[in-house]
Amino acid sequence: MKRLLTIAPLLAAVIAIHLLCAATGTLYYLTQMTMSAYYALLIIGLCVLMGYAGQISLGHGGFFAIGGYLSAALTTHNLEHLQDNSVISALHSFGVLQSGQDLYGGTLLVVNPWFACILAILAAVVIAYLIGIPVLKLKGHYLAMATLGFGIIIYRVVLASEYFGEADGISEVPAFVLLPGLVVSGDFAGRVQNYYIAWGLLIIGLILLLNLIDSRVGRALRAIHGSSEAADAMGVNTARFKLQTFVLSAVFAAIAGIFLTHYNGGIGPSEAGVMKSVRYVALVAVGGMAHLWGALTMGVLLNFLSLRGAFGAYDDAVFGLILILVMLYAPNGILSVRWRPRWARKKTAVEEG
């Protein structure tokens, strides 16, 4: 109940933005707000990993891509020619597969988006575990480089595999029917509905993470960040908690990727690019590292501006500049800056990575 009260202003803002856009005839803004919400979902997950568990990841674009690409590939690759295969027909009768029509009226047999979604999340979990076990033993520069390396490998794989559409990516991804009448798609008529789906998902994600931070697990994570040695001595299995947080944030990234891909109707290799991963880190940093609300606000705001083309050709440069400025002048995030005279300022310090 208490949690609902803290969420209420956000809910009100979401509705207010919709009404405002409707009243001013600018509903087209909702499209970017929807996309920003999905990116923000990834960012709040990464925020828990970076800000609370204290582990940097320059590879979260990779997990986004794993989610997006897998669900896109599974729901678009036609299995029609395998229809006679007994496994395929069995899957079909169990509802794992669904029939459809392509643009030219040909029949399609593809994986049902719900099953694709679950498979993509499972894949993200498994990969995050396998990667996380060795990677999270590393610290600082080594951790940054290893996660960066992971991201680049995912990028190379999608760029080089025919299955993932190489440089063109995957398009014509079908709509994702969550429930009858509740559809994730870029369909013009579903714009308002999709806005609420995205923000609903983001708010649920936020509530779950707020709960987590304020629990035994959250305290253990913050303790690791405060003093890893003392946390160990309290019986906190630091390695396991770091790993589980890594997996959790990977799941958030994958879900964001899955939904955004269905919403956009496609995904391209740039989503797996290094710049994307760096951008997510930048947004968590701007929001204040250990600050879920800050990460959410900044994640939505800057992604929205970027998607509206506010930064023009300087898009990447803007994020690079933000990274530098925030780390130089406000290592605890710009929301933490108090404009007090220099002498009254307390020493601020960002926690060790």
Partner: protein, 252 residues
């Protein structure tokens, strides 16, 4: 049988023999002190027992079970708690939250049940909070429960660290120079506190510099010098030991 037994423990750092062939035992319910001049290897010894450092050779037995080579969190699980000479507060958390971390092993909630705040988690959370407040009360710092731990006065931080260790309900508590940085009044206070902890049934092993405190409260004392044990006896006998006097006061 001894609760904790250190058996021929060795630790080398490169060419430096920090702990050399040290053996002693701690009986259940006693307060045992390890003293020695700076650099005698006292803190290293603690780090070896608590698993923060791997030993070069030798054994550490807790209730007859070998624990050397175990990770710190595994050692903690067995019921061994410790404090640090230079207090290690969890920064960014309140005093109460610091103590609540101490209840980690007494609670179960994982990622999923925490995120969905399931009924079991809620009940557990309430118990953690109550127990932690109780401990803050015991150490007379309940009034600063919601103050950020790192902004507390030094003496209060020490108290929080004690409460945090006690929250683990350990069988043995390792105290690394609990009086370091405290004034005479506060030191006496810590002495009373340690005796009270023992009366709660918790065995105490402490490393200390302050001789008056050690002589007051310990049941037995081990003296280290340059990594080697040179004496182990009752406080009164240690005070008379010519070898010990030589280390502390120098050759006559």
């Amino acid at each position: 049988m001894d609760l904790l037994q250190v058996d021929k423990l060795h630790k080398r750092f490169g060419g430096l023999q920090a702990v050399s062939d040290v053996s002693f035992g701690v009986r259940s319910g006693q307060i045992k002190a390890v003293i020695g001049p700076n650099g005698a290897g006292k803190t290293t010894l603690f780090n070896l027992i608590s698993g923060a450092l791997p030993s070069s050779s030798g054994r550490v037995l807790f209730k007859g079970q070998e624990i050397q080579g175990k990770k710190p969190h595994q050692v903690a699980q067995l019921g061994i708690a410790r404090t640090y000479q230079n207090i290690k507060m969890f920064s960014g958390m309140t005093a109460l939250e610091n103590v609540m971390v101490g209840r980690h092993l007494q609670s179960r909630s994982g990622f999923v049940s925490s995120m969905f705040n399931l009924p079991g988690t809620r009940g557990e959370e309430r118990l953690i909070r109550e127990k932690s407040m109780e401990l803050l009360g015991l150490l007379e710092i309940a009034d600063v429960a919601h103050v950020s731990a790192t902004s507390l006065a030094f003496g209060q931080q020490r108290a929080v660290e004690f409460a945090r260790a006690l929250a683990m309900e350990p069988e043995i508590l390792l105290l690394d120079e609990p009086a370091a940085g405290l004034n005479m009044y506060e030191t006496a206070e810590v002495g009373r506190l340690i005796s009270r902890i023992r009366d709660l049934g918790i065995t105490v092993l402490l490393v200390e510099h302050d001789m008056s405190l050690v002589m007051d409260i310990s049941d037995e004392i081990v003296v280290l010098s340059f990594g080697q044990k040179i004496a182990e006896n009752l406080p009164a006998a240690i005070q008379q030991d010519p070898e010990v006097i030589k280390i502390y006061l120098g050759e006559e």
